[in-house]
Subunit: 205 residues, 2 copies
Amino acid sequence: MNVSDIFISLPVHMARNVEFDEQLAISKAMDVFWKKGYNGASMRDLTEAMGINSSSLYNTIGDKHQLFIKCIKHYTESRMEAAKKQLHQISSPLKAIEKYINASAYTITTEPNSCLAIKTTFEVATFDVEVQKIIKSDNEFTYQLLIGLIKKAIDIQEIKFTKDAEMLTDYIINHFTGWHESFIIHQDKTRIKKTAKFLIEQLNK
Amino acid sequence: MNVSDIFISLPVHMARNVEFDEQLAISKAMDVFWKKGYNGASMRDLTEAMGINSSSLYNTIGDKHQLFIKCIKHYTESRMEAAKKQLHQISSPLKAIEKYINASAYTITTEPNSCLAIKTTFEVATFDVEVQKIIKSDNEFTYQLLIGLIKKAIDIQEIKFTKDAEMLTDYIINHFTGWHESFIIHQDKTRIKKTAKFLIEQLNK
DNA sequence: ATTATTCTAAAACGTTTGTTTCAAATTTTA
DNA sequence: TAAAATTTGAAACAAACGTTTTAGAATAAT
């Protein structure tokens, strides 16, 4: 055996390339899961929205579950990027926290669907360990982002009423889920804006 | 036509009575929906848990959707009764609020499944108007219960930092949903207890 | 241009879905 | 006790489910 044998299993003739844009297709599938949930979305719903045949889907991305995993990864990753950009270069940590809270309230009361990560948490995260991991790391990202800001704010005494940064981070994050539920039930922006305003006032005490 | 004709359509021969206990069967079905969600629960899952045949189910309760409606009604109604009993005769409004918060935190970190009402809100309440109504009135109950206490607490100056009872009610309720999500993700009781403690401290300012 | 390879579309796959049928069992009224 | 009415269990229903197969179109390398 010589070195070239190692590569003998590689395709000699490279036939057709995949026709469809995988990222675009996943984004389309994500929208379906977002609206209908994991169990509520059928493969026919998905392939129709993606504009591809199920054979292409199974040849490239995989089965329904693998597709779902890619969709929520896509969702959480794009949210992370958006958050990074959003808080990029804000001098005051407390101002950054406030901006993050207001941006969350705005997103919740503006987007057509409630957060896919939260919907997924309540629908399948209890059973599905693979989903659990993604949801957990998404949550951890937000947590680290906020706790960094809170620790800084405590350090420079922008926040004076507590030294427990971990608790305060949890405390703030908890609100977002409640706002989502509230908005589904009442469809009332002002209720959420008022509580967001109050939460920010609390931070300034 | 005489008066007796009005009743002529009523059954003359009353045959068998329904064998199974409907309330018990609905309670069993509720557990299945609670674990698997609406779309995740199959009729075979449900009838097996209920211990009845699907023909009996369709003859008495109705189809899957009607069964689900009865299940979430059962869920919300029993929760309402429990809440009423719980706060029955507590002299101080603020103490009653605190008890309600602590009881919520305890339930969230103790029960095997996350709240059926919240799971339902995120899974189907966006589309299903019948479900929406039930969820909304369940929410309204909690809202009225809390706002009553908060208004009293403001009146007798147990709460001094705000006069906006509506906002504060929303603010408190919002936490519960967040705790549910947090507990699904982290399974950490102390994180929830800490934020509950902090929330109560805020009320005493 | 031929060959090897991969992609795509349509159809079909076996299961499972929610729901209905139907005969047998049961019970009440007469 | 006979007749009428209704529930029950088992089987069957069509439709939809997630997935696979298959034949042919497409394309890169020879």
